[in-house]
């Protein structure tokens, strides 16, 4: 099962390596991991996408909580939540046909073409990870030159918040 775990962690050098080291040392999967400071500069927020049985996910959350730098943790995928990932994708668009089709697909997926050359389009697309996957799939007739994905960030729906008390 795929799970999304959000944590607030002290914004200190080495915090990221503690989390990454925990996953590699204990053999847990990381599908993606994103981290950046929050509105409170002393805290970073991390979103981790991982897979595992319920027992493994339980251990992952306990082990993360045990890290002295981790202030708070929420398993987002336990409740209603919003998941977003951003992708930049550079596609070969040299002929008129190619340019039309890439533009059409980008529109369908609500992407934005943010850079154009005589032979390429670069598209920015945001959505759940699965939407980005579908877009890549949809481009299968085209030549993808580069993709960059930000990794997933997520937030709970409604009034539920991951914050200090």
């Amino acid at each position: 099962m795929r799970h999304i775990i959000s944590i607030l962690i002290e914004n200190e050098a080495g915090a990221l390596s503690r989390v990454a080291g925990l996953f590699s040392a204990r053999g847990y999967n990381i599908e993606s991991l994103t981290v950046a400071p929050t509105e409170d500069a002393s805290l970073s927020r991390m979103t981790i996408v991982t897979t595992g049985t319920d027992r493994i996910i339980e251990q992952i959350t306990k082990q993360l909580n045990k890290l002295v730098d981790v202030v708070k943790l929420m398993e987002l995928s336990e409740g209603p939540h919003i998941e977003r990932e951003m992708m930049l994708i550079k596609v070969k668009a040299a002929t008129m046909d190619q340019r039309d089709d890439v533009k059409r697909l980008s529109d369908i997926f609500r992407g934005h073409i943010i850079d154009v050359t005589a032979s390429t389009y670069t598209i920015e697309l945001t959505g759940a990870g699965s939407k980005l996957d579908s877009f890549i799939e949809a481009l299968s007739e085209h030549k993808i030159l580069e993709t960059v994905r930000s990794g997933v960030s997520g937030i709970a729906r409604g009034e539920k918040c991951l914050q200090l008390n």
């Binding site: 002290e10 080495g14 027992r55 339980e58 251990q59 082990q63 045990k66 002295v68 981790v70 202030v71």
Partner: protein, 580 residues
């Protein structure tokens, strides 16, 4: 008071009440050593290898319950300390290790004696810090002690770059009274609802079993445990790490469980219907085959670390909390409870258990013309009235010490269980002896293990530490040999120790007394002679039966009811044959 970073560090240790600092100097910590020079409160113990500094601090911590403190230099000083840090980590021992580091400006430049100490130690510490500003130093030290000693204890490393301890930069010094960390708030009290559920479950048991571990020793909970056990009248076993919490000769105590546990303890685990786990972590040397672990039991588990609970074995009633607090709450509920243990069921259960006991699984050949290691340990118990502090190394001798010494108090049995570090015994004994100069401190070791930190004989001379080294010399890496005998058809690949030193001369050249014992009839008089030398270190080189094995033994991955037994007990030897 304006102090330099080096002076601040030493003041912090004084204010923290640190008695002994185990260390070894080098470039990156010279400012700190200079600050240690003109003071007497913090006594520095100069070891001969940084590994020994960590083990000595660890032994001190295990015996006293106070954190052990270590000071080593950068680079090789720090890497040498890693084995001891990992040893303490695996057994949850409170320790603060201060490592020197190259000056802040040189970090990351492959400077002389630079290693990424924070990076190297990260997976084997409870937490670590790099001090980047002298203004953070005192608070960081306070935090280090706080984290090391609260919750589930563990080692904490503080990496201090050389410029932070510069004698020319002085700032006002205040040692914080306390620290608050928003990211670290260990729980102590157990959840009352869960405690109530647990008590109800244990009172409904027909075949109960209590399984206790190192958490009882770490949490200073032997007293409430003893009360709990005697109130219920249930059988109790202990892991290697919890020995002494219940006296070895208590009628309710079934001995150690697990790979080298007693027949009765393992059989009772296998057949019980309610298991009460207290400060124990279901280690694989204890559970054996997971699928067949306590197949009929509902399990209660008390542990301060949520990640210990349901890690390998799913439990029915988890209780996160400090053992002593939880047991006190349970004891109260028990004394107020109208329901009492089911005496009829309990009597039947004890009858079954006493049947297992009658098999005398710990029997060995008492008429041999060779010195039996078990007999040595039993005799050492007798001569020291079972009241000594006993450290050990790792191997067969460790198991015999655990099985045959017979501990009556917690904190007296000091060994590396989780990491199984050969070389632990002698330096750990130094830490214990420093803490308790008047007590008898014994290091039960093997001729293999003792050579891993033998250089510490020199430290023992310098500080006058009259440790008694009982080396069970079987001329084999015996535990390895035993596995090769059982599982590799006697192919003794590199487990024979050739070219052993003359340990008597070796002890003498370090300024100590050495005694070699080869004949059965010499054992008692020579042991008595050695233990009578109260203020000398005596190295007893005891030539034991070379092929003796540790029994019982559950092969790795086998179930509790599949044990190899001693040929001298009343049970079939081979686990393939029907036992139960």
């Amino acid at each position: 008071m304006e102090l330099s970073g080096a002076e601040i560090l030493v003041h912090c240790l004084k204010d923290e009440g640190v008695e002994y600092l185990f260390g070894y100097p080098g470039g990156a910590v010279l400012h700190i050593y200079d600050a240690l020079y003109n003071q007497e409160e913090v006594k520095h113990i100069l070891v001969r290898h940084e590994q020994a500094a960590t083990h000595a601090a660890d032994g001190y911590a295990r015996a006293t319950g106070n954190p052990g403190v270590v000071l080593v230099t950068s680079g090789p000083g720090a890497t040498n300390a890693v084995t001891g840090i990992a040893t303490a980590y695996m057994d949850s021992i409170p320790m603060v290790v201060i490592t020197g580091q190259v000056a802040t400006a040189n970090i990351g430049s492959d400077a002389f004696q630079e290693v990424d100490s924070v990076g190297i130690t990260r997976p084997c510490v409870k937490h670590n810090f790099l001090v980047k500003d002298i203004n953070d130093l005192a608070e960081t030290i306070k935090k280090a002690f706080y984290v090391a000693t609260t919750g589930r204890p563990g080692p904490v490393v503080v990496d201090v770059p050389k410029d932070i301890t510069d004698p020319n930069i002085k700032i006002p010094y205040v040692y914080p009274q306390s620290v608050q960390m928003r990211s670290y708030q260990p729980v102590t009290k157990g959840h009352p609802g869960q405690i109530k559920r647990a008590v109800e479950l244990m009172l409904s048991a027909k075949k109960p079993m209590i399984y206790t571990g190192g958490g009882v020793v770490l949490g200073n909970a032997a007293e409430p445990l003893r009360k709990f056990v005697s109130t219920l009248g249930y059988p109790v076993t202990s892991t290697l790490m919890g020995l002494g919490s219940i006296p070895w000769d208590d009628q309710q105590f079934l001995g150690m469980l697990g790979m080298h546990g007693t027949y009765e303890a393992n059989m009772a685990m296998h057949d019980c219907d309610v298991l009460i786990a207290i400060g124990a972590r279901f280690d694989d040397r204890v559970t054996g085959k997971i699928a067949e672990f306590c197949p009929h039991a509902k399990i209660v588990h008390i542990d301060i670390d949520p990640s210990s609970i349901s890690k390998t074995i799913s439990v029915d009633v988890p209780i996160v909390g400090n053992v002593a607090d939880v047991l006190n709450d349970m004891n109260q509920l028990l004394s107020a409870s109208k329901t009492k243990p089911d005496q009829t069921a309990l009597t039947d259960w004890w009858n079954i258990i006493n049947g297992w006991r009658a098999k005398k699984c710990m029997s060995y050949d008492r008429n041999s013309d060779q010195i039996k290691p078990q007999a040595v340990v039993e005799m050492v118990h007798e001569i020291t009235n079972g009241d000594a502090y006993v450290t050990s190394d790792v191997g067969q001798h460790q198991m015999w010490a655990a099985q045959y010494y017979g501990f009556s108090k917690p904190n007296r049995w000091i060994n590396s269980g989780g990491l199984g570090t050969m070389g632990f015994g002698l330096p750990a004994a130094m830490g214990v002896q420093l803490a308790f100069p008047e007590e008898t401190v014994i290091c039960i070791t093997g001729e293999g293990s003792i050579q891993m930190c033998i250089q510490e004989l020199s430290t023992c001379l310098q500080y006058g530490l009259p440790v008694k080294i009982v080396a069970l010399n079987n001329r084999y890496l015996g535990m390895v040999r035993q596995w090769q005998e059982f599982f590799y058809q006697n192919r003794y690949s590199h487990s024979y120790m050739e070219s052993l030193p003359d340990f008597v001369k070796l002890a003498e050249s370090y300024g100590h007394v050495g005694i070699r014992i080869e004949r059965v009839e010499d054992l008692r008089p020579k042991l008595e002679e050695a233990f009578a030398m109260k203020d000398r270190l005596v190295f007893l080189d005891i030539v034991t039966d070379q092929t003796e094995n540790v029994y019982p033994m559950i092969a790795q991955g086998k179930a509790h009811n599949e044990m190899h037994m001693s040929p001298y007990c009343d049970l079939p030897q081979d686990p393939e044959r029907e036992l139960s």
